[in-house]
């Protein structure tokens, strides 16, 4: 198993005002799998993604990635874990404003050991002609494609996407989903995507629903469709 979570718990707030966000999550993900997390606001899906991504720590429980126990790693090791294994795509892109498109992708490439060709990524993502532009010269979809490029260029084992289409219109969202699907197929990385949009679950291998901090449903998608066919 590529990723394994055992009884992950996480709460926020002080003793008098504690909110249990994750209340014992068990999860296994195979390498190359495309998993979508659904659930209402506050269900704990983003928190779970942050714990998997090593940018937040669980209060208890264990997490293994590629055989290594991430939950016991120290800060420095967590940094290395993120550096070597993870790619991140956020709803709000988080591009570095004073770097060009190419350079933003190189921000990711700099970290990897078996990185993909930046020009190749620019072509795949349809960004070649925008390579020398700054983020503020791009549309939202172009910025999100750049952020995907930054995430995949280092050839990560795990791509974490937190509401990647949350800030985009319908057609741009579809373009982005096609891109993520292509990345999954072309580079074989495992993708965990958090979304509010239930329709997106139709292009995933598995759909996991969270409710009140626990996995409510964990369903393998028997009728998976391609992003090109997806409509909502």
């Amino acid at each position: 198993m590529f990723l394994e979570l055992q009884q992950i718990k996480k709460s926020f707030g002080d003793e008098n005002n504690r909110v249990e966000v994750l209340n014992g999550v068990d999860l296994s993900v195979k390498k190359g799998e495309f998993v979508v997390f659904l659930g209402p606001s506050g269900s704990g899906k983003s928190t779970l993604l942050n714990i998997i991504g090593g940018i937040d720590r669980a209060d208890s429980g264990k997490m293994y990635a590629d055989g290594k126990c991430v939950s016991e790693m120290r800060e420095r090791e967590l940094g290395q874990y993120r550096r070597k294994n993870l790619g991140y795509v956020f709803q709000m892109y988080n591009l570095i404003p004073n770097l060009t498109v190419r350079e933003n992708i190189e921000v990711g490439a700099y970290l990897g050991e078996n990185t993909l060709d930046t020009d190749g990524i620019l072509s795949v993502l349809g960004l070649k002609e925008h390579a020398d532009k700054l983020p503020n010269q791009l549309s939202g979809g172009q910025q999100q494609r750049t952020s995907i490029g930054r995430a995949v260029v280092k050839n990560p084992g795990l791509l974490l996407c937190d509401e990647p289409t949350g800030a985009l219109d319908y057609s741009t969202s579809r373009e982005i989903l096609k891109t993520i699907e292509a990345v999954n197929q072309k580079y074989g990385c495992t993708i965990l995507m958090v979304t509010h949009n239930e329709a997106i679950g139709r292009i995933a291998d598995r759909v996991i629903s969270l409710r009140d901090g626990v996995i409510h449903k964990n369903i393998a998608n028997e009728n998976k469709i391609s992003a090109r066919e997806l409509e909502w």
């Binding site: 940094g79 993120r82 550096r83 070597k84 991140y88 709000m92 892109y93 004073n98 921000v107 700099y110």
Partner: protein, 778 residues
């Protein structure tokens, strides 16, 4: 009911959140305003005290020294010339501490004494001495003064005083500079004075005009007339009209001239502070852009928001200015006054409320703060609500990226982007660095300059001794200025002839510059013997040679003409310069003796002094006006260092504080501007070292370049400033030489300040949380 703006609730939170920033601004503002206020209040109060001292202490209009005590009949004759005279006999003695002291009998009517501490002497073995002289020599009340001669008396110090006619301790009115370390004055009782035989006393008399002349010209005419009349009544040994008395006027002139530099210095600091503040607030505006967009969209006006963002800096500045003024009027005033008290024997001052000081220290700094912030923040807030909401500040003109070759290593390109992003910040940083450099080079360079000057003086002294002869004033001639006293005395050629084989005669004349573009000063013109062994150069008939200092100060050379005039007459002399010699110790003109004597209608044999490498012992002391030796020449640098040493320390501390503050704020801005990116870089797995390398080391490289290029630039500025100061504020000339070692020290201090700040700011990078990038604030 008027609704209060709910945004006001943010002020306290903002103040708490950015406490260190506001504290630094507050402290710097308080200190700057405090120092300026303290300085202006001290300066104005002292100047007022000084001005009032003429009336309060009934300061003389002049004084003369008679060979013998003036008889009642002579007194009557003298006073028929429109003056009233007052005895102020003194004895002048060497002390066992190596200095000389002039002890006066108590003053009862004129030149009254200000008792600053302790009591006036009441017993014959008691003395009250000048406060500054006491401080300089480590003497305090209860200590003893012992006269350094066989059987010399001892006096117990009962009080510290300021003699109103010795606010500057000039031993001799012809001295180039006063020496408050080796010369002092004091008061002993009448009984103590009368215990000395008449031969040991100096019969000095102060005079007051019954009707004071209306200006300097008239005063000169009256005093010129007076000296001739006095000479007919008594045997005069010295004659110093009030307007020429350096001991009375030097301090007042200095007090009047110092303010401009200090005001300029503090205002530059406030302008830099205002810029740093405004740029800092602009980065807050950028950070809060969506909130501003929302507020504008919901009906808040740009003016309200401008006021909102400006209010805290202005309030902090106002608080700084208010507390600075309080400090200025209390503690710092005394600190600044101490600088004057370190140089001058001024009477106790009374603090005056100065509307001018308040205006300059409170109103003007606030206006500077307000103007700079209004312009910069106004620009930052000029966007539309939608631009703020989208953080799209370049909607009309999309900013293009500077093209960087992909062949440049990625991290290098990243660092370059950080540099490009912060060019405006670096410009402010550069201004701050330049200013701090200027202060440091000035503060550290001054002692260096003085040492260098001292060496130059020692190296370029014509002879070990330069004797300026003083004709007994009883032979004062028909007219002319004070040098005439010397000139006329030479009629007693026999009395001033010496057998010393080393002695070489010279003649001299003093003329004044016109002061068209510089402060007026008296320049000595020397008439040198042909084939002189002391002054190098051939002085052909009619040839005028100027000293290197004069050439440098007035930027004149061979072939140029230069006009000088008699100090108190409308008589002009235009000199055509034939060459420049290498004399750097004074602004002076040289020619052969015959040329000088002809120029001033003197006898061909006329001379007024000797150069000599050995002491001349066969001329009566009463014919010697002054002796210029190494000790006398080095009084200038010694006294300047003594007077300004404390100020230099303040300047150096200020410089380093400016370095630290400017660097701190700008690095803070750079980090805050990029904290979102830094947070993202952390998420992506960049190590802290890599992040530091990108965001701090890029600035380090710029900083190194800025510091290196700033020093030669500031050297040029300093040279020009120094030249202007010398030209407009000082007599004489100090060649500006700054040791290259000081340039390196300045650079090192700049780097050290940067390293220190960077060290502090590293913590800030470490503290940026990863979840910052997760918040939807793009």
């Amino acid at each position: 009911m008027v609704k209060k703006n709910p945004l006001r609730k943010r002020y306290l939170r903002e103040l708490k959140g950015e406490f260190s920033k506001y504290l630094i601004i507050f402290l710097l503002m308080t200190f700057s305003v405090g120092l300026l206020s303290g300085y202006l209040v001290a300066d104005e109060s002292m100047l007022k005290t000084y001005d009032e001292s003429f009336e309060k202490y009934n300061i003389e209009n002049g004084n003369f020294t008679a060979k013998k005590q003036v008889s009642p009949e002579q007194k009557e004759l003298i006073e028929e010339n429109g003056i009233k005279i007052y005895e102020q006999f003194y004895l002048e003695k060497p002390l066992t501490n190596g200095s000389r002291i002039r002890l006066f009998s108590p003053r009862k009517e004129v030149n009254l004494v200000c008792l600053m501490q302790g009591a006036m002497p009441s017993a014959p073995d008691e003395a009250a001495i000048d406060r500054m002289y006491a401080n300089n020599n480590g003497l305090k009340i209860g200590d003893y003064l012992t006269i350094d001669e066989e059987g010399g008396a001892t006096y117990r110090i009962t009080g510290l005083v300021a003699l109103s006619d010795y606010s500057t301790l000039f031993e001799n009115n012809n001295d180039m500079m006063f020496d408050a370390l080796k010369f002092g004055v004091g008061i002993i009782t009448d009984t103590a004075i009368s215990a000395y035989p008449a031969r040991e006393l100096t019969f000095n008399y102060a005079w007051k005009y019954l009707e004071f002349p209306k200006d300097d010209m008239e005063e000169k005419a009256v005093s010129d007339e007076l000296i001739k009349k006095l000479a007919k009544i008594i045997r005069l040994e010295d004659f110093v009209p009030g307007y020429l008395n350096q001991a009375i006027h030097f301090s007042g002139e200095d007090l009047e001239g110092d303010g401009v530099m200090m005001i300029a210095l503090i205002y530059i600091i406030i302008v830099i502070l205002a810029f740093v503040f405004a740029v800092n607030m602009t980065s807050t505006i950028a950070k809060e852009a969506p909130v501003i967009g929302t507020l504008l969209a919901t009906g808040y006006t740009r003016g309200q928001l401008l006021l909102h963002y400006m209010l805290l800096p202005i309030m902090v500045s106002m608080a700084g200015a208010a507390i600075g003024n309080v400090l200025g009027y209390t503690w710092l005033k005394d600190l600044c006054a101490a600088l004057y008290y370190n140089s001058y024997s001024l009477p106790t001052y009374e603090t005056v409320w100065s509307a001018y000081a308040f205006f300059m220290t409170t109103f003007v700094p606030l206006v500077i703060m307000l103007a700079v912030n209004t312009v910069i923040l106004g620009r930052g807030l000029r966007h539309t609500p939608i631009q703020f909401l989208r953080r799209d500040f370049h909607a009309k003109k999309k900013k293009k990226a500077v093209r960087l070759s992909p062949n440049i290593p990625f991290i290098t390109r990243f660092k370059l982007r950080v540099v490009f992003q912060n060019v405006p910040n670096y410009l402010i940083l550069f201004a701050g660095v330049l200013f701090a450099d200027l202060l440091l080079l000035f503060g550290m360079g001054m002692p260096n300059l003085m040492n260098n000057y001292q060496t130059k003086i020692t190296d370029s002294l014509f002879a070990n001794y330069q004797y300026v002869l003083s004709a007994p004033v009883s032979y004062a001639g028909e007219d002319e200025n004070k040098l005439d006293e010397i000139i006329k005395g030479l009629r007693f050629a026999k009395a001033v002839e010496t057998e010393n084989p080393d002695a070489e005669k010279f003649s001299a004349w003093s003329l004044r510059t016109l002061g068209d573009y510089a402060r007026t000063e008296d320049i000595t013109l020397y008439g040198i013997e042909g084939g002189s062994r002391y002054v190098k150069g051939d002085f052909a008939d009619g040839e005028i040679i100027i000293s290197a200092s004069m050439a440098e100060k007035y930027r004149i050379g061979a072939g140029d003409t230069f006009t000088l005039k008699e100090a108190y007459e409308d008589k002009y002399y235009t000199l055509e310069i034939s060459g420049i010699n290498d004399y750097e110790s004074a602004v002076a003109v040289f020619m052969n003796r015959q040329t000088l004597n002809e120029m001033f209608d003197q006898d061909p044999d006329f001379f007024c002094g000797y150069f000599s490498d050995t002491k001349i012992t066969d001329i009566d002391e009463s014919y010697i006006g002054s002796i210029i030796d190494i000790d006398a020449m080095t009084k200038v640098p010694r006294q300047l260092m003594h007077s300004m040493g404390g100020l230099m320390d303040i300047v150096n501390v200020f410089a380093i504080v400016i370095f630290l503050i400017v660097i701190y704020f700008l690095i803070k801005i750079i980090i805050e501007k990029n904290e979102h990116s830094i947070s993202m870089a952390k998420i992506l797995g960049y190590s802290e070292k890599e992040i530091r390398s990108i965001y701090l080391h890029s600035t380090s490289a710029v900083m190194i370049v800025l510091i290196i290029i700033s020093v030669p630039i500031i050297m040029l500025v300093l040279k020009q400033l120094f030249y202007m100061v010398m030209l407009e504020m000082m007599s004489g000339w100090l060649p500006l030489v700054i040791d290259s070692k000081l340039c390196y020290i300045t650079m090192l201090l700049g780097f050290a300040s940067y390293v220190l700040v960077t060290f502090v700011e590293m913590r800030k990078i470490r503290k940026i949380p990863m979840d910052m990038a997760l918040k939807n604030v793009e």
